[in-house]
Symmetry: D2
Subunit: 138 residues, 4 copies
């Protein structure tokens, strides 16, 4: 599965799209995504919602863990938030830490435009045998 | 701070609202919220996105941890997903496990309409001294 | 596999024994263990070491997750510590939250003699197909 | 507080000593420790016990988070185990990811003699204002 096919598959991710998340890059075991923050991402304290930060990180994790062309589903995630953010763009980079036939581990760093770490995410995925369903060419 | 004031404050949570999450109940140390699933919550595999499940759980955690009337911010969360869901309503209940002047721990169970456990969430909040900003009465 | 066989198998756990941990009870999906604290369990601040608390919780998790008679290995654990302890006995109870053919989720509560929550532990196990090796009868 | 004072303080960690853990190096925000495995570290399946791996990682985390000379206590830890180990030495390196006056985040990598990742640990510490108690010079 090449990068264009992966990008086509992940355009079907409706919650990521609804949240304004964009896939920037994908290579085997790696993904980069971004989220331009707007009022819709804020919580009651006027800072970026933990759910928006998580969804960005989880999306990058999903892309990286499915980048080998077989289905991987999230089974555990751990998120630590270090810095409150109000505006600008959040950037997430997911990197594969380990992988065996059934399990894959990923670390995702979420940074702001200044490059400061906003959140650190660990993701554990269960890897199935079935290939990722490829959408038909447009 | 009474329940009506807390509900007014959390109506200001724009990402929860954007995600279709509704606050059902809040009492000191407890909150219940729900998310009626629609196409917008699905990922590329046509199942409810981990980000949507997390945002629901995180919202219930935020309400419960702020229910004492002082600001509490999430510092660590752990989410385990047990069951894939496609439709119906997701229900989250957050319960306070422990609390001291600076830290609060919460467990959130996310269930589907059948009452099956969809995800289990642990949330750790840092408790500040400042009161939660109360929105002016309408 | 009956309770006596499980107890015989877990007597082979040398690090638990070295740490002074005792198995109190095991039924399918459930285990209870205890750790009588002594000087050997303290850290530099003279409080029970996080490693000792974890090892107690992890042991109860291992017993509960292997209680169905097939091998289960820990893949992710999350530990939140709520209370510092110096003396007395720590008690851990592991309960199965969910289980499918490949994965099992467990919550472990660690309490002191007063019944106060000392730590909360989430454990995720990968379940293999092979039976737990039964030690020969004595 | 210099490195010799920190090493003197951590020699008081009795559970680490009981477990055979040795402090190799400490600098501000960083610590390295090792655990030469022996029969005492094995579980019922004859592999290194999760509790032994955790205690090694947690010790490195404790040293790194206390390396600034004020007391830091663990409040949340997340451990993912990637590889079963039976023999040799385990090596843990703790690195500071972020730090503010109240909270510090640390990542610990545990590797075997071949350099393979055995486990990945995230630690969140609550930082107190009091200085670390310095043991009297010998």
């Amino acid at each position: 599965m090449d990068s264009a096919q992966l990008q086509a598959f992940f355009r079907r991710d409706r919650y990521a799209a609804h949240s304004g998340i964009e896939l920037v890059e994908v290579t085997p075991g790696y993904a980069k995504a971004r989220l331009p923050l707007s009022a819709v991402h804020l919580n009651g304290l006027d800072i970026a919602h933990g759910g928006a930060i998580f969804t960005l990180a989880d999306f990058a994790f999903a892309v990286a863990s499915n980048s080998h062309g077989t289905i991987a589903v999230a089974i555990n995630t751990n998120l630590t938030i270090m810095k409150a953010t109000r505006a600008g763009t959040l950037w997430a980079e997911a990197r594969e830490v380990s992988k065996n036939p059934r399990l894959g581990n990923y670390t995702v760093e979420v940074r702001d435009d200044a490059g400061d770490l906003v959140a650190l995410f660990q993701g554990l995925a269960y890897r199935k045998s079935e290939p990722l369903p490829v959408p038909p060419a447009a």
